[in-house]
Symmetry: C2
Subunit: 343 residues, 2 copies
DNA sequence: AATTAGCACTCGCCGGTCAGGAGTGCTAAT
DNA sequence: ATTAGCACTCCTGACCGGCGAGTGCTAATT
């Protein structure tokens, strides 16, 4: 009978996984014995490995190669790793240092964080900017460009800016524009962008705006200003991942780069992480994206105040240094959270 | 004696280049004769090829392979190609169509154009956004975020927006902020951002501002708002280029992706094109960037009114379909120009 | 009953050899 | 000046055999 997972089996499995993570080559029974100083013969280890294979934790590329961990093995490894130690001193230092540098505009912060994730982990860094609809409205401004072109600038509490050019049917005098902006600012302050939407609809149906065409126009203008387009997503360190031996195969690489270019699939995956606060890990096919086959994704959510804003993480091969990367992602998310709640 | 370039030699050279562009394999004397129906024996062609090699237009990977064009050959080819025909009907249509779609914010336009370049050419598209300092100042706004955080928003005539968060030493009351903004707007309207810089310095030395601390503060605030950081650059279609057979070699790929990630070198190369309006072509080492070895860059400038704003182009292997891509780049630059001068 | 030594076997990898083919360069004929 | 003919080069792919790492099984050991 297959004894599910006694202590020794687990120890051996972890040894295999760790060796494979560092060497990227199939691990044989002899190698594991010598590298981990176990007081077991290679024959015994072979027996254990055979069991582990039958349980679905290991696979052999061919008869006489060693064995490599399956996704199930990584999952087991990661789960049992829950005793997450925190990131190394030096890693923490670098993350902190680079977060401190990230001054400039809000967008620049996210890009910098993404680069940091990538350079510290040596895989790809990814940051999904907060869905704009989750932001709290601060102010709207209309600026006349030449002719009938109008620039609408939307600012959120946290300093994110979204802007959009509007082509008007007819020119609107400057004083009307400021009135419109004032009107919108007065009724919308403090709402999230999502809430603003319903507020606008309510306002449009109210009597007041029906009598005042200026206000009605203002509300229409708003609807042109808000950009319900796709969220932004910052991926950095693509070159890093080329160093991984598994991408000697060109086909695999194409997959990944296509996945990165499309972004939309990736984005909806990240979006789904917002529900589950804290660390999330997708190993290989767990992401249900076939462009991510052979890849793992480690994410964490970042927060401002009491609502989670967005997700950041690291993408690497399934054979990833989980024990290093998980703390890195965790710590970076915390730093970003702190950065956003400095207020 | 080596006769420099009579008509027949040139014809053969072009045939070789074109064949090589489409097959990516060394071209032999037999192949060229059959594919182009020349009334010459393969022996004659061999003699010609031998001459062309000595002149530096061809190289042979090894004794008994065919020949491949050198950079010098491509340069010759491109120069003699000056009778640029315009882009295909279908290509023009697609470019026009996608330019029309590109509504939204200014940044979005550049990204869309870059994607268009990439998808029409099947290589990588690249667009360098206008140097912000070339823009004409339109308006500055200060918006108070929580606490001592201030958001400065800078708008240009053309609708580009740059924003930046400033950490203040001490809070500034709202009415002061509007006064400061008004002051800055009044003295800076119509200048380019570059001109603004010297104007600010002049203004700081003038008596007026020395007596009015508000104005002095406003000028200081400006200096914190303007972001003299790097320009933006949009590169799309990286996955496209993986289909090119020359990148079966992984090493080459790494080079390129590193070059793309750094951007700074690439940017200064593009910058240098602003001086030379119209089409610019860098073949292989002509760019003097060794990360671009084996790659060619075709650029064109785009314009608004009378001053050139920026550069766009296509990056591909030296073995690139120049006769197709050059018109594409040319046409796209014209479309973008038109898009920016709609006014 | 668990562990281990021993051993036959499998299979990828590496280097060497060999035939085939594409292409060249040279020479001599046209 | 062009071309046919031919020897020569060198890449490619197939095939082969030995090596080594690793396995799985069996029998001996603890």
């Amino acid at each position: 009978m297959l004894e599910p997972m006694n202590n020794r089996n687990r120890q051996i499995l972890e040894a295999i996984i760790e060796d494979y993570i560092s060497t990227a080559e199939p691990i044989g029974s002899g190698a594991i014995r010598s590298r981990h100083g176990l007081s077991l013969s290679s024959a015994t280890i072979r027996n254990v490995m055979s069991d582990l294979e039958e349980l679905g934790f290991l696979a052999s590329p061919h008869t006489s190669a060693g064995r490599i961990p399956t996704e199930k093995a990584y999952r087991f490894y990661v789960d049992s790793l829950l005793a997450v130690r925190s990131a190394d001193r030096s890693e923490r230092d670098e993350i902190r240092r680079r977060c401190a540098v990230a001054g400039r505009d809000v967008e620049g912060v996210f890009r910098e964080i993404s680069q940091t994730l990538s350079s510290v982990s040596h895989y790809m860094g990814i940051v999904a900017a907060p869905r704009f609809t989750a932001h709290i409205f601060r102010q709207i401004e209309f600026i006349r460009l030449g002719g009938r072109r109008l620039l609408a600038i939307l600012v959120s509490q946290s300093g994110s800016v979204q802007n959009r050019i509007i082509e008007l049917q007819e020119e609107i005098p400057a004083e009307h524009l400021t009135k419109m902006a004032n009107y919108l600012n007065s009724i919308l302050t403090g709402l999230t962008i999502a809430e603003v939407k319903s507020r606008i609809i309510a306002e449009m149906q109210s009597e007041k705006s029906n009598y005042d065409s200026l206000m009605a126009d203002a509300l229409k203008l708003w609807q042109q200003s808000i950009d319900n387009g796709e969220e932004e997503i910052f991926i950095e360190g693509q070159a890093n991942i080329l160093d991984q031996p598994e991408f000697a195969d060109v086909q695999q690489m194409k997959n990944i780069f296509r996945a990165i270019e499309q972004k939309s699939q990736l984005l909806s995956l990240l979006d789904s992480c917002i529900q589950a606060p804290g660390i999330n890990i997708f190993i290989g096919s767990e992401s249900h994206l076939n462009s991510m086959s052979g890849m793992s994704l480690i994410t964490s959510t970042y927060v401002s105040g009491k609502n989670t804003l967005g997700v950041l993480g690291v993408i690497g091969p399934t054979r990833m240094g989980y024990s290093k990367v998980i703390p890195i992602v965790d710590y970076t998310a915390k730093m970003l959270t702190r950065l956003l709640t400095v207020d």
